[in-house]
Amino acid sequence: MPSEPDGSGMDQFVAEARAFLDEHATRRAHTSDEVAWGEGEDRITYFSTDPPEVEAAKVAAAKAWQKVRYDNGFGWITGPPEFGGRGLSTLHDLVYDGLEAEYDVPDTGVLSLIGLGMIGPTILAHGTEGLKRHYLPAMYAGDVIACQLFSEPGAGSDLAGLATRAVRDGDGWLLNGQKVWTSVAHHAAIGLALCRTDPDKPKHKGITAFLVDMSAPGVDVRPLRQMSGGAEFNEVFLTDVHVPDDHRLGPVDGGWGVALTTLMNERASVGGEGAGAAGRAVALPFLTELLRANGRLDDAAARRRLAELYADQAATEYLNHQALRRFRAGEQPGPEASVSKIMYGQNLTRGAHFAAEIVGPRLVADTGEWGTFSWTELLLATPALRILGGTEEIMKNILAERVLGLPKEPSIDTKSPFRELRRSGRAEA
């Protein structure tokens, strides 16, 4: 086999990580392939539907575990040492994740999905020395949760059409507008906000990025209840919020470049994730037990649908294996990673509907029987998978334009001043 580069000192790293995990965490009793049908908590969770006090406890546990990681050198494996990182490669990061998956540890998604996965890299790439020193160590130590103040009621897929205004105000800026779909804003200490600073320029050229203190006067976070019942994201109203100029990321009117850094890291983090309760529920071992428990293991129609789903799941997993192999060989992931995200959303959706068909009328109302009504939670989560992190339609545009080189649609909105564009939403620039 071709040797895998950048594995320098990997054995020692693995030993060190293993020792750390053995000391601070417990190994999982079951591997992900083992199914204990009818045992344990009867929930198939994708989005949280926890009551506030349970959610608060989980956030506290996440912060505490991140702190332990950080204090032991595993909180920011790829980060520069001057800001609290370990200065190692992405491969080390992947290896650590693989090891940690063997242990029962608190889910740190509230910190990592947005803050550490997307906002951290953006601050690192575009922040001033002062901002980096002030925020990065605190974020990766689990003290500071960050959120992404990007989407607006009038700017969804067309993010550059955002209308939240920032105007000069003494030594800083005054922000006014409304953000939406803001995950974890209700736990966040800071938010990365994209604001319109020059409406007379074309839409991509008049945007500036700021780091907003979420506890500042004028920041109003209101939970947004999802169709699945929980409230993981929010509306954020910004009313005369003062932001000092030293909390600006990148140049004035240069915020689109900052946003692209964040979005690139978003696409890198979505897809490729097969694990989690939902992933295990729609994987072959669990669905096989579902068929067995319902006396359908010999049902030709059910077997055919299961096989079709399994074939696509396995092939998606192979796609991720090979992306990882190429990555280890030094190749950077390109826009074709969108394929993985599309497949992930579709496979999970198909799995939920397959299970629903097997469960039948017992999904209509909670009969109390294990492994039946609990599928509603996943079923109600799946529509979001084809929207969040870029809708399926936008993903297909990316594939067609950036991979296949097909021409863009003629645009009427990228050259005219933002002020003259037709837009949805009520905020006027």
Binding site: R303, A307, A314, Y318, M343, K396, L399, E401, L404
Partner: protein
């Protein structure tokens, strides 16, 4: 028999592996050769020829590129590479729909000979196959067409004991059976399904080339009437030989399907960029653009499945179970090629429905190769069984 089986096993362990750079060089070499020798006009001429493929091109593939030898054991004139390398070659052949006895000879017949563990048959047949001077094929005439032979399901019966036998019956669908020099046959023998070798010049051997859906791969019916045959491997041992052939052949076929699907994607994309309607390229309309993106997604996933299966079948460490991976690749690549070949015609509109346009040649190949080893009902059920469900 036991010493020669050991010799074959030893030959197998010396399997060579190409680096990523070498695989890429191999791909370029085959692609360059095929682009000069097997363009669309050449493929159509071969289709209309008597044998169904160009003998001169086949001779060059063997003599100049040495491709039939690539994945054969070194002890019998081969280079000792595996399915990973073979898949690169087959993928390129699939891209241009090369009519050729390569698949039937190298993938079906040679794999069966190696899997049988019969050193005598290997010495007799593999050097000629490696040199490109012998063409061969394999037929498993089970009534379900699923390549899963069981006693009493086969349309050919063998009588006689020891190394010699006599075959009676017919094989209705034999890939490149109209031209193969040697036909390997799974027949109902005294000990159950057994592999035999029949020379195409033997008495009682009659073949009829059939009209085919896929114009670029010939199929023949072969009738055996007291035809003399030679035992290959052990009596009653054909089921396990065919199981190995199926893993290798469906994996190689998956690579071929990905090659064909990629060609369709490229054709559709190129056309969507150049065809102007309503004052702009049709590829700038999202309805067309998303069709192309869907095709790309299917090709990428299929490519991953075929590549992973090849690594698994070669036993590369860290790969999934070969039986599962081969079954996944067979299902996913069959479906992907069919879908992409059909959508390619839609992107082209009316011109894509003409005889002159190559789109139908791919559509034909896609459907025929999807059904070659039994089709969806068979491959989905096989996948579940391989995965233990």
């Amino acid at each position: 028999m036991s010493t020669s089986t050991a010799a074959m096993a030893a030959a197998d362990t010396t399997r060579a592996e190409a680096s990523d750079a070498e695989l890429s060089e191999l791909r370029t070499a085959v692609r360059d050769f095929l682009s000069s020798k097997a363009d669309e006009a050449a493929v159509r001429a071969a289709v209309d020829s008597e044998r169904g493929y160009d003998d001169k091109v086949w001779a060059q593939i063997a003599a100049e590129l040495g491709l039939p030898a690539l994945a054969l054991p070194t002890a019998y004139g081969g280079d000792g590479y595996g399915v990973v390398e073979l898949s690169v070659v087959i993928g390129e052949m699939g891209r241009v729909l090369l009519p050729s006895p390569f698949f039937s000879t190298v993938v079906l017949a040679a794999t069966a000979i190696v899997a049988s563990g019969d050193a005598g048959a290997a010495e007799r047949l593999l050097p000629g196959i490696a040199a490109g001077t012998t063409t061969a094929t394999l037929t498993v005439p089970d009534r379900a067409g699923s390549w899963e032979p069981a006693a009493g399901t086969l349309g050919i019966h063998a009588t006689g004991s020891g190394a010699e036998a006599v075959l009676e019956g017919s094989a209705p669908l034999v890939v490149e059976g109209g031209t193969a020099d040697v036909v390997l046959v799974v027949a109902d023998g005294p000990g159950g399904p057994t592999l035999y070798e029949v020379d195409a010049t033997a008495t009682g051997f009659a073949r009829t080339t059939l009209r085919t859906l896929d114009l670029t791969r010939r199929v023949a019916r072969i009738d055996f009437s007291a035809a003399p045959a030679r035992l290959v491997g052990e009596p009653g041992a054909a089921a396990s030989v065919v199981a190995r052939v199926l893993d290798v052949a469906t994996t190689a076929l998956a690579a071929e399907q990905v090659g064909g699907a990629r060609a369709c994607l490229q054709m559709a994309t190129a056309y969507a960029k150049e065809r102007m309607q309503f004052g702009r390229p049709i590829g700038s309309f999202q309805a067309v653009k998303h069709k192309c993106a869907d095709m790309l997604a299917r090709v990428q996933v299929a490519d991953a499945a075929a590549t992973e299966a090849a690594r698994a079948v070669d036993g590369v460490p860290g790969s999934p179970d070969p039986g599962v991976a081969a079954a996944v690749a067979h299902a996913v690549c069959s479906e992907a090629f069919m879908a992409v070949a059909a959508e390619n015609i839609q992107v082209h509109g009316g011109i894509g429905f003409t005889w002159e346009h190559p789109a139908h040649l791919y559509y034909r190949r896609a459907k025929a190769s999807q059904l070659l080893f039994g089709g969806p009902a068979v491959y989905y059920e096989r996948l579940l069984r391989r995965a233990g469900v």
